[in-house]
């Protein structure tokens, strides 16, 4: 089992390295550079060349790649080209906010979707099941920027219940935090809930036809008990894996939600860095998102291994 988990870890690190290389190559291929965008219209060829040399942009691609990669390994993501601060420092002010947003959304989405999925699998094709299915499909097929915009329109502009802007940095009380976080968390978790509830239902329903579930019922167990104590542990692996993929939507969905609510998180930083041609910052953000995804998948894999006695005892 330890070997299996180590193998997954090594694979994860390898993937991350590949992604880092890809990020470097793609960002190098973007048109224009930071020096040009800093100097704007005033640029003369001489000042441009001087600034480039100062920023290290005149070095060959390969050398810049090595210095960059070496820096990352030491936790040094370079200096932001836009404002001259270390990238790590810039990110450190924003990352906790994004993590809080994604974490709170996951905390809402996981239990709600599990309960909805299990409940609708218990009575397939019942009124409750059909209603859940309908709502889930609506939620997961509406883009999160539309959901977020509708929320702002209805819940803050029309009713004024929640603030339209989530300036979380200026909040100091728990109540205030609730006020500020509710809309972004809702907007973010709705589609994830829709997806995860659908998947939980499908996976569980398929499992309810297995003979061992019948055995449990014939032992005198109730349908719910058979589902939760017998069927669910068997599908923990697939459900967690499917959930990891849906939760990934949190990472990408964060982009729209943060921009719409002007939430001071990482993706807003990344969007800004792209328009500023701030390569080091952009690269670091991209890497963090990829690492986040890989960590989710890794956790799912480990849970799948732990819940399967065949793999656990291997």
């Amino acid at each position: 089992m330890i070997r299996l988990i180590l193998k997954r870890l090594v694979l994860g690190v390898l993937t991350l390295w590949l992604v880092a290389t890809l990020v470097f190559l793609v960002s190098g291929a973007l048109p224009g550079d930071a020096a040009a965008s800093l100097l704007g219209q005033d640029a003369t060829p001489a000042t441009l060349a001087a600034l480039r040399a100062q920023m290290g942009l005149d070095q060959p691609e390969f050398i810049r790649y090595w210095t960059w990669l070496g820096g990352i390994l030491h936790g040094n993501f370079g200096i932001s080209l836009a404002n001259g601060q270390p990238v790590a420092q810039v990110i450190a002010t924003r990352l906790p906010n994004s993590l809080m947003l994604a974490g709170l959304s996951a905390l809402v989405a996981i239990p709600v979707s599990l309960v909805l999925g299990i409940a609708s699998a218990m009575k397939p094709n019942s009124v409750f099941d059909r209603l859940t299915t309908l709502l889930s499909i609506i939620a997961l097929s509406t883009p999160s920027f539309l959901i977020a915009t509708l929320f702002v329109l209805v819940l803050s502009v029309w009713t004024g219940w929640f603030p339209a802007l989530s300036s979380v940095d200026r909040v100091h009380s728990l109540g205030g935090l609730f006020q500020v976080m509710t809309l972004p968390v809702l907007a973010l978790s709705l589609s994830v809930i829709g997806q995860m509830a659908r998947m939980t239902r499908a996976i569980l329903l398929q499992q309810m036809n297995e003979p061992y579930v019948e055995t449990a019922v014939l032992k005198g167990s109730s349908g719910l008990r058979a589902a939760v104590l017998h069927a669910l542990p068997n599908v923990a692996g697939p459900i967690v894996n499917a959930s990891a993929l849906s939760l990934n939507a949190l990472i990408s969905g964060v982009v729209f939600v943060e921009v719409i609510f002007a939430y001071p998180g990482l993706t807003k930083l990344m969007v800004d860095s792209v328009s500023n041609r701030d390569l080091p910052l952009m690269q670091a953000c991209a890497l963090i998102f990829c690492a986040g995804f890989l960590i989710l998948v890794l956790i799912a894999d480990i849970i799948a291994i732990l819940t399967n006695p065949k793999l656990r005892t291997a």
Binding site: Y212, T215, A216, K219, G220, N234, K310
Partner: protein, 545 residues
Amino acid sequence: MSEQDKPFIEVSNLTIAAGGRDIVRNVSFAAKKGEVIALIGESGSGKSTIALSLMGYARRGCRITGGEIRVGDRDVLGLSRAALRGFRGKDIAYVAQSAAAAFNPVKRIRSQIVEAATLHRSMSREEAGRRQKALMKTMALPEPDSIGERYVHQVSGGQLQRMMAAMAMINTPEVMIFDEPTTALDVTTQVEVLTAFKAMIRERGVTAIYVSHDLGVVAQVADRIIVLKDGEVMENAPAEDVLERPRSGFTRSLLDASETRRLDLSEGHDRDVVLQADGVVAGYGRIRNGLPGYPVLHDISFRIRQGQTLGLIGESGSGKSTLGRVLAGLLPAAQGRAMLNGRPLDLRDARRRSKLDRRELQIVFQMADTALNPRLSNAEILGRPLTFYHGLRGGARRQRVMELLDMVRLPAHLADLSPRELSGGQKQRINLARALAANPSVVICDEVTSALDTVVANAVVELLVELQRELGLSYLFISHDLGKIEAMCNEVMVLLKGREVERAARDRLTAAPEHAYTRQLVRAVPQLRRGWLEEVTSVPAAPTA
């Protein structure tokens, strides 16, 4: 009526519907306390459905639409959901056909057995744990104190089946339902499990419903036999009467089908060798230095002459099917050579074989259900190999399809149906016709009769022998069923753990088996005679090699 004669289980006019059709019609029977009632019939006769209805349970898609079921003083069909939960598993318990599927694979077996007790709060967890160990011992399981700690994948099928019975016994139920509990087991294991079940039923005095399609098995355990056909009772009488003086024609046909038969085969010691294998070693995992990671077959050699059949028998896991897959080129051999009609045959991969080799050696699989594409018509299934091997198209192809259907004794109008619309026996005939479409000289038959009812399986065996006579085919006939092997094989090879332990002509093999394992195998075939089980078990079992 005295208290003792009063029926303990009483089923009257039971009707169960599925998909708008009655699959059980007006079934009535009764059982006294401590009696063992056998429900016997072919697949689709409704025997399992009836047995499950005694627990107030109907599988998805089925509905109990009429009749009355009384167990003790309960009206089972009138019980509330809560009362049903208290009844199931406590007063009436179920032993499923495949314990391997009926136990939860991710939970320890002990916890599942204990759950059956704690669920009903019939005893404390500690007491249930002690009882679980005692039952494991009663069921003659090895290491009874610790075997419950294992998971399903860590115990054998025979052990699981006994553990399933232990789980059913933990609350000492009044009624036990055995639903084909030994069908998935090898005959040698079946003897052990049957013995354990019979002892337990007698000791605890439980009333039992025993569902089976095998008259030989039923003859050993039942006091009374109920013969079912298409959801109706054909005969209901004490076991001796059903076995010795059957009144219904259907029972007689079932009894006939279980008789040992020997079809006439042509002798051919001087004919050409069609398929020959020498020193085949194969298994699973990566092949290194001529040895696979998990070797299954060791040094297998044989010859099959034209128009002859070599039977291959052994228990599950003995490597029978692996040999079939190696010869068909589906699994690479690590060592060994093979010759087909005098030409070397590639044992690494079927894709390396010439079209001629592929045409002349065909394989037919056990499950026609999964081997036939349900989206194609039967004509298309048979037509594809005709185009591939013989370039037949249009009218010529259609004509050949009709000939093939005729060859396997199927009516021509089935050509444009899908395999889904056929019965199990008809599907297996299409499966066979597809192999014949290639005009093969050798056909590997991998357990082709195992999924079929006895009567249908016998007909398929007869067909194989007729085709052999007409077309001069050679067969490698793989089966775990000694009866079928005896019926149609000139020569038999006995496999034990991937090694050949005995090879003999069919008459010699059953009359005077030499190897201890073969003797055990021959003795373990259930006989219709009552008391056979006691005879087998009174002689100490010979140790297997």
